[in-house]
Symmetry: C2
Subunit: 245 residues, 2 copies
DNA sequence: TGTTAAACTGTCGGTAGTGACAGTTTATGC
DNA sequence: GCATAAACTGTCACTACCGACAGTTTAACA
């Protein structure tokens, strides 16, 4: 299997073949490390679901259909656990942690897919989460040795693969962009409104008239381009414009 | 310098010495890979600043004071760039990208600190960002060779170090925890309210009466223990209970 | 069978917030 | 000197939202 040179070759390939073609990368990973399948997802996590941003995998179409028919609940549950982990997560640990995934592993066995593997969470832009999961055709007892030898390679290459894909889109969105220039007073009234205070209460707290509170709030709404105080506060919290009360 | 065995020793150390003592880990990294200094920060990014959650580094106190006196703007600028990257970032690239950091590198030279190095962004819980930055005493021309040989080790060990620290706190905070048990309908009306819709508009969108919208909102307020819709939405956004509109 | 939770709905009297009219003073930059 | 921004203020008519009274049906669980 892989030698140090195999790792270096992949490093160089990632550097020299931008924009990256995911399936080419997957093919090289499979050839170099004896990986059976790879599954990569880059998503926007929502409270109870995820919004897919990018999805690449090596499963044949026939297997893909069988997985889809398993139902969204099972796949989503697996995906969410992998995405919420900050450390690599072995499939065995996944299986133990979540009995709901039993049908998924049963199906994998039925389709003659290897069930040993590991998922690597990947550093992503704010508001996003990504994971690359691999399955390898080794007996369960041999997986720790496999990961000890090749884990650092696969982890590092996965991160660089994902970073290359992100880089190819990053010219559009700078997540630390400057917000609209709210004045100190505008931020103050937003803050107190977010804390549940009425205009009258805010006026008393700040020692100004209720009319002025309204004026500042109106300005804040205009600058944030929103139509209600509720929307203004949602926007301000989301963008970190006001501290949590 | 490091052999494969050095890497394995650190892997085993990270597995066998929980809870992790950061300075012990740093000492081992320095010894194994000839690293001059390490700097690790785990933060909550805000729009215009960062809130420090955890900070560990190997700088002596005297150097620490000199850095602080450089001013918040310079350090913050460097930190934000490192935190917002999804790929490892060499210090040379940092310097080129941001002329504002010039005084920082001048000071490092003055204090006889190596200026060659690299920062690794680390997978973090939602709403957090972390980075481990190392400086190594090698000539600029030798850095690429150094990173080619040891980058995968350092990257992987850094990620596991950070994950171990995060794990030791995760029993307290599960970022995907279900907050107060808002029903789906309660979340929906919160979401639309945060998007600036009036009750009448929400009623039309959801195909229910305005009275029912009010009922769900009232429930949401009660469950979130707040006194206004504005406060409810602030709370919900802050806690990630509703997606950004 | 009884209780609880979720989803749904009407009426009434009251208030908090809204836009649209008006204005003031002070400080800064061109 | 003039324009702009920030902070501050009053009045009027209107609307969106509020709590407090009322209710409904369905499903799940003990």
């Amino acid at each position: 299997m892989a030698t140090r040179q195999g790792y270096f070759d992949l490093l160089d390939w990632l550097e020299g073949h931008k924009p990256i073609e995911p399936h080419e990368f997957f093919a090289r990973m499979r050839a170099t490390y004896g990986i059976a399948h790879l599954f990569y997802a880059d998503v926007i996590p929502l409270a109870k679901s995820v919004r897919l941003h990018r999805l690449h995998h090596t499963l044949p179409h026939s297997h893909e259909r069988a997985l889809v028919e398993l139902g969204n609940g099972v796949l989503l549950a697996a995906l969410r656990v992998m995405l919420s982990s900050v450390r690599p997560l072995e499939h065995g640990a996944l299986r133990e942690r979540m009995p709901v995934l039993k049908p998924l592993f049963s199906l994998a066995t039925l389709l003659d897919l290897p069930v040993q593997g590991i998922s690597y969470p990947l550093v992503s832009p704010a508001g996003r989460a990504a994971v690359l999961s691999i399955s390898v055709p080794v007996p369960q007892a041999d997986l720790p040795i496999y990961l000890r030898h090749y884990g650092r390679d696969i982890h590092t290459l996965s991160a660089l693969f994902h970073a290359a894909l992100v880089d190819s889109e990053q010219l559009v969105d700078d997540v630390f962009e400057d917000a609209p220039s709210l004045t100190p007073r505008e931020r103050e009234v937003l803050h107190w409104s977010a804390a549940g205070k009425s205009y009258w209460e805010i006026a008393t707290i700040l020692g100004i008239s209720e009319r002025t509170v309204r004026f500042f709030m109106g300005n804040a709404r205009r600058k944030l381009d929103v139509v209600s105080n509720t929307q203004a506060v949602a926007e301000a919290v989301w963008r970190g414009l006001i501290p949590q009360a």
